[in-house]
């Protein structure tokens, strides 16, 4: 169990400066400096997002899209400005393509319900073995409701989607392919651009689950040419309870509304209701206004950071952690894809992940243990769960070194 000296070169990236922006990182738990390695579950928030939350409720709070008064106008302007900022960051064609949702799960459910309504019995939907429950269960529910068939692309032991198998599953019957951009459990970066092109070649639409990629990679929805892209705000340094569904405008136009209520209508009579235009057709009721505005702030924050450097830094963190962990006896890294980032998942022979996670917690280290809402993937590896360290750009090599010391102590206690 000796630490190896890494040969990796860590690219220049001012992590110290970035950490200054995140007050949650500057605290002690159980008398130890907090090391936060649970970024796959949620990210911490920079000061400017925290300030924006306070500012919104102190100075701007009003309902949007309906008030004639000053505050309502201002809240509406800010909310729509956030939408435009997100549209530009994603390189979407129009802000009509940016639908505010409750999060990635809500976005997938919206597509499953609304796009799903346009599908016919016998149509097929394709997902992969490494999907999060959020990208499995809504499709299962839809398949049951409409008599559709759900197909699952197998993966290899490294945690890579088998592209040959994907080719075999694609057919004229395929109407939608829904795949995670980055696996929350394995860190695998899937070749979605190629997969999208293949789906289009049989006339199928493609949904990208971007819950784990939006905070690590620069996303260009037009370059990817995806039909839908979903993500959650809280994983990309914004507040909880809000997220985004990107959809191609002509497709969203064809789709029926998801939920009924205020804001999504053009005119209501008891005989007939006509619906509002995009994006409001899909935003029934008073939305999470503060959430939308502050997600805009989070995007303003990430715009100030060089994402090429972020990518290199996070890959280096994951590679360094993997190199060191591999030297532990009985420890197996789960997921060894060629293209992998920001996540290291592992299991230790004869030890339960829950025990390891509990002891790390008491040493000030936050990791996730369990099945990570990917039970079918755990079944594939025949393990009950893993210990997962997931990194963000504010994590450091020094933190990994401390994590390794704490892990060594934990394993010695448990053996």
């Amino acid at each position: 169990m000796q630490k190896t000296t890494s040969t990796l070169q860590i690219p220049p990236f001012n992590v110290r400066e970035i950490r200054e922006e995140f007050p949650a990182l500057r605290q002690q738990v159980y008398g130890k400096n907090l090391i936060y390695f649970d970024n796959g579950a949620t990210s911490q928030k920079p000061q400017m997002v925290l300030d924006a939350i306070n500012h919104y409720y102190s100075k701007e709070n009003a309902n949007i899209h309906r008030g004639v008064h000053y505050l309502s106008q201002r809240a509406t302007t800010e909310y729509e400005a956030a939408r435009t900022r997100i549209q530009k960051r994603l390189n979407a064609k129009s802000s009509n393509e940016i639908i505010f949702t409750k999060g990635a799960t809500d976005g997938i459910n919206l597509v499953a319900s609304s796009f799903g309504n346009m599908l016919q019995q016998g149509d097929e939907i394709i997902i992969s073995t490494m999907e999060h429950h959020s990208n499995i269960v809504p499709w299962q529910m839809l398949c049951e409701r409409k008599g559709l068939v759900l197909r699952v692309i197998p993966i290899n032991f490294k945690g890579e989607i088998l592209q040959d198998e994907y080719d075999k599953l694609l057919s004229k019957k395929t109407k939608l392919v829904a795949i995670t951009h980055i696996s929350n459990t394995l860190g695998t970066v899937n070749p979605i651009k190629e997969m999208i092109a293949k789906a289009h070649s049989v006339g199928a639409k493609f949904l990208v689950d971007g819950a784990q990629s939006i905070q690590h990679l620069l996303i260009d929805v037009r370059d990817l040419n995806c039909d839908f892209f979903v993500f959650s705000s809280h994983k990309v340094f914004g507040p909880t309870g809000i997220g985004v569904l990107y959809g191609k405008e002509d497709l969203l136009d064809q789709m029926p509304p998801y939920q009924g209520g205020g804001d999504m209508i053009a005119k209501v009579t008891f005989e007939r209701t006509t619906y509002n235009e995009l994006p409001y057709k899909f935003e029934a009721g008073t939305p999470h206004i503060a959430g939308g505005i502050c997600l805009g702030k989070a995007f303003e924050y990430i715009e100030s950071i060089d994402f090429k450097a972020v990518e290199a830094h996070e890959r280096a963190l994951a590679e360094y952690a993997s190199q060191v962990l591999e030297t532990f006896e009985g420890l197996t890294i789960i997921g060894d894809a060629k293209n992998k980032t920001s996540v290291v998942s592992f299991s230790v022979k004869d030890l339960h992940p829950f025990d390891i996670g509990t002891l790390l917690d008491k040493q000030g280290i936050a990791v996730r243990t369990g099945h990570h809402c990917t039970q079918p993937l755990m079944d594939f590896y025949k393990i009950p769960g893993t210990v997962r360290a997931s990194f963000a750009f504010y994590n450091t090599i020094q933190e990994i070194d401390q994590f390794v010391i704490a892990l060594e102590r934990s394993l010695n206690m448990l053996k």
Partner: protein, 143 residues
């Protein structure tokens, strides 16, 4: 009355044992030792109806009424969960159903392990304590 005093006394004993520890890691070291010492329940008792499924770890509980007192045997796939089971069994075993139903297990909070019995922890322990009480109620009805 005698048994009720007993259950309080055992809890006080555990609390004073835990007062000796200086930090969290020592507490957990002790829990792990307890977990390792706890007799494993036999495989044939690890049935679906005895399983309490947590999101993180799993617990099996076997309850019997022997001479008017509850006899609990339990096991878990996680060693820390098992250590806490050891403490719960030490307190609850060999008590009358009436005592078990009315007891509040105050020692858990006193030794700082309440997080393990919170719904968010999802290690099966909360479900196990509920099941222990339910089994006590059931055996009262049988009596």
């Amino acid at each position: 009355m005698e048994t009720s005093n007993d259950i309080d006394k055992i809890q006080e004993e555990i609390i004073s044992e835990f007062e000796m520890f200086d930090d969290w890691m020592e507490k957990y070291e002790y829990l792990i030792e307890l977990g390792k010492d706890l007799p494993i329940i036999s495989e044939e008792l690890k049935t679906e109806d005895r399983l309490i499924e947590g999101c993180q770890s799993r617990v099996w509980l076997n309850s019997e009424l022997i001479n008017g007192k509850m006899d609990y045997r339990a096991d878990s796939d996680a060693i820390i969960t098992k250590g806490i089971i050891g403490l719960l069994i030490r307190v609850m075993n060999n008590q009358t159903p009436e005592v078990i139903i009315s007891n509040e297990l105050l020692f858990i909070k006193a030794i700082g392990l309440q997080e393990h019995l919170s719904p968010t922890r999802s290690n099966g322990l909360l479900g196990m304590v509920k099941r222990m009480k339910l089994e006590a109620i059931k055996s009262l009805n049988i009596k």
